[in-house]
């Protein structure tokens, strides 16, 4: 959409209050959803919970294709459909709810930088492990991704997704990395987050922000998802303050 149209739409959005029947769509929880999508979905759910906005979670096999940008999760609010955490945060801000209002400009820039770090490192590592590691792809990712479909469509769609992710890894230069290097990158990312968190309950002041929602979404999902081996979870567990951050965020509110 053009800039003028987007500005117009967000003005319209701001005018309406948050409806009772807002819904969040994600792939099927039991059989289909993968680690990366589950992490993104949990991040959005946590963010909405922190803002105090009620939302129903609806699981659909075709959630990825329903989304306007092709990525899950997405929310259906009134007449609007918004996907991914970044645009959702903007949309919520237009409605008048924001978690990062109390931050000054320096802190806001820092928050954005850390969110980019999580997206570029942690999320990409998750995608790499799921689709570029042959063992995980064969045992977990392809069977789960294609479970709602019948033969031969299930194989076609699973391989199509795998090629797409591998092409993306090629484009950003990750295809040359080995699994060990990827685990190292995850470790470094966790170290940066751990250093920023220190002993505070949240990353900034005493109030949670969207960065907290994002980090919680990813770390909690990594800790609680069963992969082919436990190395990813071990990397996170080695930072105790991150562990207690997850525990604390899970039980609060």
């Amino acid at each position: 959409m053009s800039l003028a149209a987007e500005a117009f739409v967000s003005q319209i959005a701001a005018a309406e209050p948050w409806p009772e029947k807002a819904t969040l769509y994600q792939p099927l929880k039991e059989d289909q959803i993968l680690l990366s999508d589950s992490a993104s979905s949990l991040a959005v759910q946590t963010f909405l919970r922190m803002c105090g906005l009620p939302v129903q979670v609806s699981c659909c096999a075709n959630a990825e294709y329903m989304s306007p940008s092709g990525k899950v999760p997405f929310i259906h609010v009134g007449n609007q459909v918004v996907s991914e955490l970044g645009p959702i945060v903007q949309y919520i801000k237009a409605k008048g709810h924001s978690l990062s209002d109390g931050l000054d400009d320096v802190q806001r820039a820092e928050m954005k930088a850390y969110m980019e770090l999580v997206n570029n490192m942690l999320l990409t590592a998750e995608l790499y492990i799921q689709w570029c590691d042959d063992y995980t792809a064969t045992e977990i990712s392809r069977p789960r991704y294609s479970s709602p479909y019948s033969w031969p469509l299930n194989h076609i769609l699973a391989y199509q997704k795998q090629w797409e992710v591998r092409r993306k890894m090629n484009a950003i230069g990750w295809s040359g990395k080995s699994l060990e290097q990827v685990y190292e990158d995850v470790s470094q990312c966790c170290q940066a987050l751990s250093q920023r968190l220190g002993t505070q309950p949240y990353f900034f002041n005493k109030q949670p922000t969207e960065l907290d929602a994002l980090v919680f979404g990813h770390l909690f999902t990594i800790l609680t998802t069963q992969l082919t081996n436990d190395e990813l979870a071990e990397k996170v567990k080695s930072y105790t303050n991150l562990l207690s951050f997850c525990h604390h965020s899970k039980t609060s509110k």
């Binding site: 959409m1 659909c60 096999a61 075709n62 990825e64 294709y65 329903m66 306007p68 259906h76 459909v81 479909y149 019948s150 033969w151 031969p152 469509l153 076609i156 769609l157």
Partner: protein, 469 residues
Amino acid sequence: MGTVHARSLDPLPMQGPELGVQADDMDLGEPEQEEKQEVLENKDVVVQHVHIDGLGRTKEDILTYEVADVFRARNLIDVMKKSHEARQKLLRLGIFRHVEVVIDTAEGVDALPNGLDVTFEVKELRRMTGSYNTMVGNNEGSMVLGLKLPNVFGRAEKLTFQFSYGTKETSYGLSFFKPQPGHFERNFSINLYKVTGQFPWSSLRETDRGVSTEFSFPIWRTNHTLKWEGVWRELGCLARTASFFVREESGHSLKSSLSHTMVIDTRNSTILPRKGALLKINQELAGYTGGDVSFLKEDFEIQLNKTLFWDSVLSTSLWGGMLLPLGDKPSSIADRFYLGGPTSVRGFSMYSIGPQSEGDYLGGEAYWAGGLHLYTPLPFRPGRGGFGELFRTHFFLNAGNLCNLNYGEGPRAHLSKLAECIRWSYGAGIVLRLGNIARLELNYCIPMGVQSGDRICDGVQFGAGIRFL
């Protein structure tokens, strides 16, 4: 009709479409003509040999069936008639450019005095023909390449390939057709295709990749077709403003279905017939041979035509259909029926009748539509006998209804639902016939019975297509 040559060394003059007689024979024959005529018609002949000249890659065994009847002729008129029929049969195989018939007296050691030899001189079609077009449409340009290989292996098999490469979409189709030797109406074909379609009335985009095989065979006066089809369907939203109902249908699905069609067609022409009737019944069962979608679909088409006084034709038609989803999943938007438009109930916008959400039409699970037409030649008959014959004026009355059915209620509730809130329209216009395949219409329509949510096109409406209500 073609040309039939009859030559003879016998000095008797022969009667026929073209005579090749020698001058002195004419004089001889004249006074005895009356007598000779009778002899000719009762004269017994035996067809001893039938030759087919000009074959290249065509195998002879399929041709023997087509010309077998010629041997049964008993007199000359019969020979000419049966040769003509055999020529038509050879042409309908679709492997010859033209066929000529030559009838001659028998020659050779075993020639009988009343024996005849019939020779079919044929010219085969080229092994491969190609075509290349460019098309420009709605914001899209494309390049279309076509290849046709008639008579690939020598028994009237046909292979066609079409490929379209456009700025937005690519599509292709590959088709192989094989008739049974001796029974051309029994045939089977295999198709492989990818087609994309954009449906702005539903804000829907559909891409189908599929394979299908079909068998056709006649039983008595009816024509039956059995088909298995496997399609990978991909649905998507055409615009960001698509309604959520349409958005929910986006994604991939696999349809594997068996279908059966029965057709009885006694009309004299497919476009603007003057007499005859058409009955077509089609059923499709999906889901029991694999795939994600499961339904039973029935639809029928009836058309009756009768010529009235002064060259005018009265035509009535009735269409109907029903979709019954099997299992617990609801029906998909790609399987439902649509109603309205210049080719169905005139006076309404294209497929813009029935259930809709935010301006996107979702189609319905049951429908019926009927039409009553009176076709007359153009007033004052301009261009009579030539160009003017392609045009007709017509006065029409169309009606129809489309709805979703709640299968918890009984059939009585369904019928009453289809009977209430009927949309109908009437008007007049001009019809132009394009070959034997398509027609163009320009009508002035007055829609009535419009329900809230329908989109109408009252006033002048233009339509082009191959199948009209």
